[in-house]
């Protein structure tokens, strides 16, 4: 054929994906917000204007600076809570807890779900049946309820919350990795690796895993958002992060009784939570659009 060679033929596939990503509004916005919040979390001690634990009862419930109140001060840009703690500082330190729980729980569930999904998809047959059964069983248990019950029985701490969430939310990883592996398994390069006598382990790690990495990244972002939302809900119900540690869910919970007088107390941490989840979801959706658009919906 004599069709003119398109410019994309010269660039590598990864460069193409990167170029598409940089033109994708969702990816740009999501990445910007996520990286900004990661940056804030890492440099929290330098960025926070006050100690997030320091209580000054004489300075409690100062509204944010944009409120028309004689109490507002630029010393507390977002005001102070019911114990006189600087709200901005607590918000900044709260980002650490959200990200840490989200990331750790996502890693645990990612390892479990990917192992199950890849085994089910690659080996098929009886292995697939058993793993499918495990997934169905997990799906039939109500996540929030089981997480609350287990955390209340074990006593809540950061470690317990991370492990309970990680052990509960691997289902989507398993489902998606299973079907992705099934697709890759039927491709020629896997068959040729088998014909060459590669060990199963080598086929799984060298041929299969790198080719389903994009699906992993997409689910990883969505599950991280899921874990952060669950942690916030757990903390909100008093069974997640314990006071005086700052968590966005806990901040909303602590302000619950005062929200009728000072609505900003729940509006600020709620907006932070909403923005973070929105950004992570947009990033995940965007990565899927760019790397595997056929899997939309």
């Amino acid at each position: 054929m004599t069709t003119p060679v398109s410019t994309s033929a010269h660039t590598s596939p990864s460069k193409q994906v990167l170029r598409q990503a940089l033109n994708h509004r969702g990816v740009l916005f999501g990445a910007f917000v996520v990286f900004a919040i990661i940056f804030i979390a890492i440099f929290a001690p330098m960025l926070a204007p006050h100690d997030p634990y320091e209580q000054i009862l004489s300075r409690k419930l100062i509204p944010p600076v944009w409120f028309d109140s004689p109490k507002t001060t630029w010393d507390h840009i977002l005001g102070t809570d019911h114990l006189g703690r600087d709200y901005l500082s607590r918000l900044i330190y709260g980002a650490r807890i959200s990200l840490m729980i989200g990331f750790s729980a996502m890693l645990i569930s990612g390892v479990i779900g990917t192992t199950l999904g890849v085994c089910a998809g690659y080996f098929g047959g009886r292995v697939d049946n058993v793993i499918n059964f495990v997934i169905t069983t997990r799906l039939s248990m109500p996540v929030v309820l089981v997480a609350l019950a287990v955390v209340s029985l074990m006593g809540s701490s950061l470690t317990v919350v991370i492990w309970v969430l990680g052990l509960l939310i691997w289902d989507r990883f398993a489902v998606v990795m299973r079907s992705a592996t099934q697709q890759v398994r039927g491709l020629d390069f896997v068959a040729s690796a088998e014909a060459l006598g590669s060990t199963t382990r080598r086929i799984l790690f060298v041929e299969v895993l790198p080719n389903i990495l994009n699906h992993f990244i997409v689910i990883a972002t969505l599950e991280m958002a899921h874990a952060i939302l669950l942690e916030a809900a757990l903390s909100f119900l008093g069974l997640g992060v314990q006071p005086p540690d700052p968590s966005w869910g806990l901040m909303i919970s602590e302000a619950k009784g005062l929200m009728f007088f000072d609505g900003w107390l729940i509006a600020i941490p709620g907006t932070a939570l909403f923005l973070l989840i929105l950004a992570i979801n947009l990033l995940g959706d965007g990565i899927r659009d760019v790397t595997a658009p056929e899997n939309r919906n």
């Binding site: 248990m141 916030a232 709620g270």
Partner: protein, 305 residues
């Protein structure tokens, strides 16, 4: 069809058995359940008495079988706090949660299906973009924060709706929206995808060619086929909603199963917690089973593969 039905039923029963075993094992999560039940100030003699009274001294498989046997008959034991059978309290509260779950589901479907259809008729139009925005925002909104914000505006600032309790239908409006809003994105996306696919199909072109009206094509030919996957998604999401209603029920003081679960967690009432987890799981398993059977009945391709 019968082979499919039996195979699916056996799987469902096995899942129920596994879930029961996992729920039962919660008893031993803290180590010795007798010490947990006895509380902090108990003497050794108290602990021994409790261990014998509740049968914690028997082998674990024996305990499990007797627990399962009684649970199958609707007997989940005595509540540690309320001093009455767990099942009485659970069935008293189940109705409220079902009412909340169903009205949340209806709200979600009434919002999501028309949005999905409209988005599919005019892909990439302003309405499609709007529907997509609703979906993206809905997925990112923490349900408890959404619930509190609604409470603040509709309950306190404008005083349109009551903020807590279950006395009238108006009490269910905000909890249903808060609970249902979370599942609208999924239903909407699936309706849109299904409609897009169906509208491209040959039989829709045939219907157009024979001169059927736009309305008839959309609702008689297209939506009826596009809605099939939505039915099973709705069943699954309904199950998830009942499990997730604990947050919403706690906020609005809706006296249902979720609220009972939260109260039981506060009171360390383990038999009650186990029974609620089991009842909700079994309900979910039943829903998915029915959805699968319904789907296989509607779509012969499923039961053959």
């Amino acid at each position: 069809m019968i082979a499919f039905f039996i195979k699916r039923l056996v799987t469902a029963l096995l899942v129920v058995l596994t879930v029961s075993a996992m729920t039962f094992s919660m008893t031993f999560l803290t180590g010795d359940p007798a010490i947990a039940v006895a509380g902090e100030n108990a003497t050794q003699a108290d602990i021994v008495r409790i261990r014998e009274y509740y049968g914690y001294d028997r082998p674990i498989p024996v305990q499990f079988m007797s627990w399962l046997g009684r649970a199958a008959q609707g007997d989940f034991g005595q509540s540690l706090y309320l001093n009455q059978p767990v099942s009485i309290e659970i069935f008293a509260r189940l109705k409220t949660t079902m009412t909340l779950g169903l009205s949340a589901l209806i709200f979600a479907l009434v919002l999501a299906i028309p949005l999905g259809v409209v988005a599919a008729i005019r892909p990439n139009s302003l309405l499609d973009r709007f529907a997509l925005t609703v979906a993206v925002v809905g997925q990112a909104m923490p349900s408890f924060w959404f619930a509190l914000t609604m409470m603040l505006w509709f309950g306190i600032n404008w005083r349109i709706l009551p903020v807590s309790g279950t006395d009238t239908w108006a009490h269910f409006v905000m909890p249903s929206i808060a609970l249902g809003y979370f599942i609208t994105p999924g239903v909407m996306r699936l309706t849109r995808a299904g409609m897009l696919e169906v509208l491209r199909s040959d039989y829709i072109r045939t219907a157009r060619a024979k001169g059927a009206s736009g309305f008839s094509i959309l609702f008689k030919h297209a939506l009826r086929n596009a809605i099939i996957p939505v039915v099973s998604l709705a069943a699954v999401q309904f199950g998830f909603m009942l499990g997730g209603s604990i947050v919403i029920e706690t906020i609005f003081a809706v006296n249902g199963l979720g609220f009972l679960a939260w109260e039981s967690i506060q009171r360390a009432d383990l038999p009650m917690m186990q029974a609620i987890v089991l009842v909700l799981s079994v309900f979910y398993i039943m829903l998915t089973f029915l959805a699968d059977v319904l789907n296989a009945w509607l779509d012969p391709r499923i039961r053959i593969s």
